[in-house]
Subunit: 366 residues, 2 copies
Amino acid sequence: MRVFNFSAGPATLPQPVLEQVQRELLDWHGIGSSLIEVSHRGPHFSAVRDEAEARLRQLLAIPDDYAVLFLQGGATLQFAQVAMNLLRGGSADYIVTGAWSQKAYREALRLAPALGGKVRLAGSTEESGFTRAPRADELDLDPNASYVHVCTNETIHGVEWLDLDAIAATGVPIVADMSSHLLSRPIDVRQFGLIYAGAQKNVGPAGVTIVIVRRDLINDPWVGTPSVMQYAAQDANQSMLNTPPTFAIYVANLVFAWLEAQGGVAAIETVNRRKAEKLYAAIDALPLYENRVEVPWRSRMNVPFRLRDESLNERFLHESDAAGLKYLKGHKMVGGMRASIYNAMPEEGVDALVAFLHDFAARHTA
Amino acid sequence: MRVFNFSAGPATLPQPVLEQVQRELLDWHGIGSSLIEVSHRGPHFSAVRDEAEARLRQLLAIPDDYAVLFLQGGATLQFAQVAMNLLRGGSADYIVTGAWSQKAYREALRLAPALGGKVRLAGSTEESGFTRAPRADELDLDPNASYVHVCTNETIHGVEWLDLDAIAATGVPIVADMSSHLLSRPIDVRQFGLIYAGAQKNVGPAGVTIVIVRRDLINDPWVGTPSVMQYAAQDANQSMLNTPPTFAIYVANLVFAWLEAQGGVAAIETVNRRKAEKLYAAIDALPLYENRVEVPWRSRMNVPFRLRDESLNERFLHESDAAGLKYLKGHKMVGGMRASIYNAMPEEGVDALVAFLHDFAARHTA
């Protein structure tokens, strides 16, 4: 029996996708081998890779002057790779809104001297405890920066940006870590210079990293950039400068097809909005629970919450687990609970969690 | 029906492994989720990762002062990563015996100035057309080198080193790309400073890279090394500085268990030797076919061969394919044919190929 899996990532995948992978695992489309047993340069996998790129371009309306890359190393390698490819001896701005943008900032700060560039902190909401992103008037943006880096959805702190207009107005290319909300809603790709995302939330299994980048930005990587980390070289080689993570790309392609069948990102956004509203409504209505993120910044994907009586934490986790609501423990950095409700989390899963929140509160509130 | 798949990589996997993955895909060990849907830091995947490391240590008798890492990026990223971690402002020797060691050499040569070090060519058999590795008296080894790099099995040219004693005698740490023959035979890990291997030959699906490295060599990475590319940092974090490629590690663990069940690397070496001997015997016996690699250097894993009458190439590929002997086309760099006969290629597959070679030659030799 399948459970409701609220893991922040690697995360639940659409069941029809897993069923198709299962059916095809020993003999893909009658070729007598698994797709993961054949050359990435042969006709079978090449067709899948091309289909995955075409589907992603369609789903997000990605313009032709943007490259779509399927890379390795996760978002954390992108923290370095972005700087290696885009810093070009200049200065980059970083905005810190939670654990992940802070990691990106610190990695770039550490590497910048070796790359002959520099990195500035252009805004941070650390003082607030990361309960929101900075307002436009709190940002100190350099109009001559090589790029400005944001994490548009903070997986740990549950802070999501929905409006980057003030940043975009500077004309500086925006580099966005969208790992935990890519494909959860429509975006205007033209507003970004580069978008990256580890796959293991809304895209597919861990092991592939999506990069969407405006081609005019990638022609001058730092001279010491490893070949497979040069965006332009990967673009020229259909992301196959060396053997790509074929299983992860194959499954991502099936997830894209599943998302198309749901009606695409606009349709899934409607569902995601409803799921998030139901969950935040329960948290706000029940005095036992608390989410401190300011309402306009609350993530639709990652919903951290606390029990005001923390002595109930273990019981909450034990009972929710027994009810088939799995992996609700919050990240160790912030404690408490977290429900990640990505595209593949059925609305019934959120309904079951909401019912549990009510039931648990009724039984444990004086 | 499963075919005999001679792909050089991604390559055929043991059928019982694929069957187990298939059974477990929607519900791993009764947890109600796939293993690829749960956190890498949770108990389920952590146990699998630990088991994979323990099995690999046991299979190759890896000493405790060596780290065992499961990384991303393939051998090609290791070309850069080795230099970033081990060059330390010094000089490294490279021995070129085919396409892959040449790629490693060129990448290191390109990056060395940025890393503040240098790279030397300590030997090459390019003039021979890569039909062997250099003899000891042809090597120009620097006893003060930071390391000496070799590719112990050239997947494209079919050249395998079985004896590195002359190099080891210098005392310089040997760095070996073993991508296409790791686990095909016993090795003395102590003879190496660092061993790396892309998984997609004898280890598992593409997407994970094995690194086995003596811990005293990795404490001083170049200052600009990305965090996830620092061996010491990955070692301190059980290869989970960020989300690892969980599917590939999970399958690798099952391949290791399968290899244990075959009797381990000594037992599989006996089979591999027999498979290779049968295939080379047929190539040598039949005038239609030719393998130019000198006998002592012939790879047991990758067997390139040509038809002396190249006008028969298309017919050979068409008929072998129709006979269920798949992916025998040679790499475009060298042309002709190639049969990759990794651990998971059953001996029956080699027998079938040998029978086909005889049959095809009988029908097409004047």
